[in-house]
């Protein structure tokens, strides 16, 4: 019984990882950059949800947070990332710039909301538990798993079936040649970056009632996100789904059967073990979305 419960716990946490890692990994696939400030949008989503949800309801909160964090992401991409990419300084400079943004955001959050962890409420309609035979499990946690499954399916379909998706793939495969075929890569890169930060904001809303909300959460999850992204193979959407689930499960079982810190230790151990045998990660290769 605990095995099933821990599996569900692992899937729930894994779902949050997947939502967050999707933006990171696709942006890396397109522009070869790592946005260390990605967690800021997640943190912002979680804090905003605490204030917004009681006033405008859950669905409207998700929509509002997505819009706001996507717009802020767009500002960061246009003002901070794009100039560096244009001057052919994408790697380390973007890393340091976004790290600076994250540190400032974390400190400002402390000033605005205080240093004490908060917990947001489970949406009223999703409160309570579901009974599945012998298993009793919180409805909201199952909702997070289902939400992520649906969103990732839609994302995969969009990448493979829509014209924009094909253009995104072509940039990931060969940005220069795609541009020589007329693709406005800078604009699509900005759009995808903003969608990624928007999804990170939504992940924050969803995670609020599950994980606690505090001013350094934008860094704490980042480490495990790097594990998910690297383990899956940088730039691979399928990779982060598989590794997100895997790390979620490792975490849940480690915490349940060993100790509170075992989750993280095991997650990093799994990553190191995989990288020794597959340096590009489980699904790492040139193109994304395979």
């Amino acid at each position: 019984m605990t095995v099933v419960l821990q599996t569900l716990n692992g899937l729930t946490i894994g779902a949050i990882y997947i939502l967050l890692a999707s933006g990171l990994t696709i942006v890396f696939g397109l522009q070869g950059i790592v946005n260390v400030a990605h967690g800021v949008f997640y943190m912002l989503g979680a804090y905003l949800a605490i204030g917004l949800y009681p006033r405008i309801g859950f669905a409207a909160t998700v929509a509002a947070v997505f819009t706001l964090t996507a717009l802020l992401g767009l500002v960061l991409e246009l003002a901070g990332v794009r100039p560096l990419v244009r001057w052919k300084r994408p790697g380390m400079q973007v890393l340091v710039l976004t790290l600076g943004v994250a540190i400032i955001a974390s400190e400002v959050t402390k000033l605005v909301w205080g240093p004490v962890p908060l917990l947001s409420d489970v949406p009223a309609g999703l409160a309570g538990t579901l009974t599945l035979g012998p298993i009793v499990y919180p409805t909201y946690w199952l909702f997070v798993i289902a939400f992520t499954a649906v969103l990732m399916t839609l994302l995969a379909l969009a990448f493979h079936r829509t014209t924009l998706g094909i253009l995104v793939q072509s940039i990931a495969l060969n940005s220069e040649i795609s541009q020589a075929m007329g693709t406005n890569a800078p604009r699509i890169n900005s759009l995808v970056f903003a969608l990624g930060t928007g999804v990170a904001g939504v992940a924050g809303v969803l995670a609020g009632p599950i994980l606690s909300v505090y001013p350094t959460m934008c860094f704490d999850l980042l480490m495990i996100l790097f594990v998910v992204v690297i383990l899956g193979g940088l730039g691979s959407l399928l990779g982060i789904v598989v590794s997100g689930v895997l790390i979620g499960l490792v975490n849940a079982f480690g915490v349940a059967y060993l100790s509170g810190t075992a989750g993280n230790i095991l997650a990093f151990a799994v990553m190191i073990a995989v990288l020794i045998f597959r340096p590009l990660g489980l699904f790492g290769r040139a193109g994304i979305l395979k």
């Binding site: 094909i166 072509s170 541009q179 007329g182 800078p186």
Partner: protein, 248 residues
């Protein structure tokens, strides 16, 4: 249609092109010849904005495009088939064609007609339309690369080494296709290491020597100039004549 005036370009600290000036007129096929490493591809990359010119001036029709971004240049109506094909290997044939079409073609409703046009030119691609580009044979990949340069409704085709590494029968199929496109009024700028092939399709030729234009000739004249061929391109004039003459 395309004019380069005193273009200088290079990579990092290295300058590869010095003061290159050339012109491609509407309806013409122009070959850019030269030995390996003389700056042929660099010239194309500068014109396409993929490795922008450091100095000089590049004009397409009446628009100066020297500092333009590559996608904006492409959207003016320049189709490009890069050296080594550079297809989007995991995408299908149709998806590879769809990318330049949606980016560049002014009329989205022309998609079926544009597909039909390239499948008429390269019937082999029609059967392979749902296959991944990476699974095609070398010849088919080159056909797809040229087709991809064409579907945007382009008026100027820039072809970099379109016959490189292909079997002789495939080479002649590609040459026929380029001739057919020229007959349709499309302007062609062709980079080739193989002077025979290039002179067989081109009206005029420029020869690059160490990053400078060393020679500009009518293709028929260059094909009959054994001394120049030997000196700049290291080819035997007899074989050049064989292919370079009016074959059809």
């Amino acid at each position: 249609m395309l004019t380069l005036e005193r273009v200088t370009a290079g990579y990092g600290d290295t300058t590869v092109l010095w003061d290159v000036s050339l012109e491609v007129r509407r309806g013409e096929a122009v070959a850019l010849l030269g030995r390996n490493g003389m700056g042929k591809t660099t010239t194309l990359l500068a014109a396409l904005g993929l490795n922008p010119a450091r100095t000089g001036r590049i004009t397409f029709k009446t628009t100066e495009i020297t500092r333009w971004q590559p996608f904006a240049i492409a959207r003016l109506g320049i189709g490009y088939a890069p050296e080594g094909r550079q297809l989007f290997a995991p995408l299908t044939v149709v998806q590879n064609l769809r990318i330049p079409f949606v980016n560049k073609h002014p009329d989205r409703a022309r998609w079926p007609a544009q597909l039909e046009r390239v499948f008429t030119l390269f019937p082999a691609l029609r059967e392979r339309r749902r296959q991944q580009a990476g699974s095609l044979s070398g010849g088919e990949q080159q056909m797809l690369a040229i087709a991809r340069a064409l579907v945007g409704g382009d008026e100027l085709l820039v072809l970099d080494e379109p016959t490189e590494g292909l079997a002789p029968t495939i080479v002649s199929a590609i040459v026929d296709a380029i001739r057919a496109l020229k007959a349709q009024g499309i302007t062609v700028l062709l980079v080739e290491q193989n002077a025979h092939t290039a002179l067989a399709v081109a009206d005029r030729a420029y020869v690059l020597e160490k990053g400078r234009i060393a020679l500009e000739r009518r293709a028929v004249d260059l094909a009959r100039d054994p001394e120049a061929l030997q000196r700049y391109l290291g080819v035997d004039a007899d074989t050049a004549l064989l292919v370079g003459g009016p074959t059809r």
